[in-house]
């Protein structure tokens, strides 16, 4: 019965497997009305933007609850469980609380910038989703410089966060802003170098092309670029502002970082923008490294956009996981990690990937021969680089004193004589 209905559904607007049919239906309807051609673009972008906006709002509401419950489980406590069954209505209650709270503007704040910064931070974080290929045809703007667009639009956040921190006339906010700028700039370099791997393999910066390449060769770029994925996830964690990278709002040191004085819905904007940035990084990881809407034939049975969003949630869960388990790093450790560790090995990685692509193209090897070899070479190269470079920098050789953690010694913890480490 259902099997017989599937071909009938194909191409109809109520076919949920490909929401682009619905958009097509609306656009041809507009075309029939005899409106000028440019209204179609406006309508298409509005439809896509509204769809993405609704999805992000629902996801954020869901993940506020999931994150708090999951982190609660990890830290051996319960988490929100009072509002609604299992605390499910907690995010809604929080949202209403933020909406109804008084939005205080502190004395001495630069009112104009103080008001503009929360609005300005929201636009780029939402605009990133324009180039995310949710399905084969479900991509709002299939730019041929899509990968660059991701980096560029995320980069707009840097000055805006600084303006937010500066406008409050509060030294803790300014310190938080300084910290986040230092982090964002250093890890942006790592992010760009990590992105070069997939771009070199596919030789296109179009997001849809990158997913189509992975579909064509029936592989995920993760398997041929494990080091790139690792570096991208670490660099992306800076944008999500979660521990171990949450020094910008380290509440035990600098109150709440760059949004110390923000209250009410203005704080809500920052809170939501943080979640959106996390989703955007996860979405980029899925498209670039984890095969996008493809899943080795599963996309024939499950709508591609559901596969995509499921993968996105899995990647985002990794960030929640690391938040619940890893300690916060110091600013000097974060900077040293970016500049002394990730940057050199990613530079070498680009050289290796370039050589591999060159050898593959010049000798006209078939993908079946070349890709497994490239994958193996890159895997061992990645392991060798991570281990070797850490040794070269003098890490990972902490004195093993019984059950003590080497990592704790490695990051500079002080041990006193006779104290068990």
């Amino acid at each position: 019965m259902i099997g017989a209905m599937i071909p009938l559904l194909k191409g109809e607007w109520y076919d949920l497997r490909d929401l682009s049919n619905l958009v097509d239906e609306v656009l041809t309807g507009l075309d029939d009305l005899g409106l000028p051609a440019w209204t179609e673009y406006v309508a298409a972008s509005l439809l896509g933007a509204v769809g993405i906006f609704l999805w992000t709002i629902l996801s954020v509401l869901a993940f506020i609850w999931i994150e708090r419950r999951v982190v609660g489980l990890m830290q051996n406590r319960i988490g929100p469980n009072r509002v609604g069954p299992n605390g499910l209505l907690q995010p809604l209650a929080d949202a209403f609380k933020l909406l109804l709270k008084e939005a205080i503007t502190v004395k001495g704040a630069d009112k104009w910038v103080f008001w503009a910064a929360p609005v300005m931070i929201f636009i780029p974080t939402l605009a990133v989703f324009a180039v995310i290929p949710f399905n084969e045809k479900m991509i709002l703007a299939d730019l041929n410089v899509g990968v660059l667009f991701l980096i560029a639009i995320a980069g707009i956040n840097t000055p805006v966060v600084f303006l937010a921190g500066w406008s409050q006339n509060n030294k803790y906010a300014l310190l938080g802003a300084m910290r986040i700028i230092a982090m964002l700039i250093s890890y942006e370099l790592v992010q760009v170098l990590a992105l070069l791997g997939p771009v070199l393999f596919v030789s296109s910066m179009r997001m849809a092309d990158i997913v189509a390449w992975q579909d064509h060769y029936n592989t995920w770029i993760f398997f041929i670029q494990p080091l790139g994925l690792l570096a991208y996830i670490i660099a992306g964690a800076v944008e999500t502002n979660r521990s171990p990278m949450d020094i910008a709002e380290a509440e035990s040191e600098i109150v709440a970082g760059y949004h110390t004085e923000y209250s009410g819905i203005k704080f809500g904007f920052f809170y939501q923008a943080e979640y959106l940035a996390g989703f955007a990084v996860a979405a980029a990881v899925v498209a670039l490294y984890l095969g996008g809407w493809t899943a080795w034939g599963l996309e024939k049975w499950v709508p591609g956009w559901i596969i995509y969003i499921a993968k996105l949630y899995v990647v985002f869960f990794v960030y929640i996981w690391s938040r619940g388990t890893l300690p916060r790093l110091r600013i000097d450790q974060l900077q040293a990690f970016a500049w002394k560790f990730l940057l050199p090995i990613m530079l070498l990685n680009v050289v290796v990937v370039g050589a591999e692509v060159l050898i593959w193209r010049e000798n006209e090897l078939s993908a079946g021969e070349a890709l497994p070899v490239i994958g193996l070479v890159n895997f061992f190269f990645g392991v060798a680089m991570v281990v070797g470079w850490a040794r070269f920098l003098g890490h990972g050789k902490g004195k093993q004193t019984g059950a003590g953690a080497i990592l704790t010694q490695d990051v500079g913890a002080i041990f006193y004589k006779g104290e068990p480490a």
């Binding site: 406006v42 660059l148 560029a152 500066w166 700028i181």
Partner: protein, 172 residues
Amino acid sequence: MDDAGVIIAFWILAGLTVGSALGIAGSRNLIHAVVFLITTLMGLAGLYITLSADFIAIVQILVYVGAISVLFLFAIVLTPTANRTNQDGFLALPALALCTLVSALLIFVALDTEWNTPDHAGFTETATSIGALLLDKYVLPFEIASVLLLVAVIGSIVLVRPEPVDESVEAE
């Protein structure tokens, strides 16, 4: 520029760019000027898009909005006297005269030049050809520029590096 959509986009972006450029010149607070600078640069990127220069537009946002404006912000914050009102200086009138002359010159050139209007060949992507040209025909200037940047990076590190502590002195 026949399509109404492109014309509407052009006027919105032109208004944004010129309006915020006036804001840069008019704002007394230097941080406000940087906010206007950011919107000006974004408007310029939008104008590049209406000219089908996709790569340049994105790089404009990446380099100028994401990096150069942060540099401006740091320079302003690190300058102790950045908050003084400097619009009433004795150079205000000469500056106004100079700016008027420059803009008059630019308007004259723009009106006097016989512009070549390209025919509408449709959108061709530019990123691939820019990459090919940079690494093929213009590889020497490209390399010279990267060496220059490397020298600048190393130079800045050398400048801010603390003097190495002489351990033999400390031991005494």
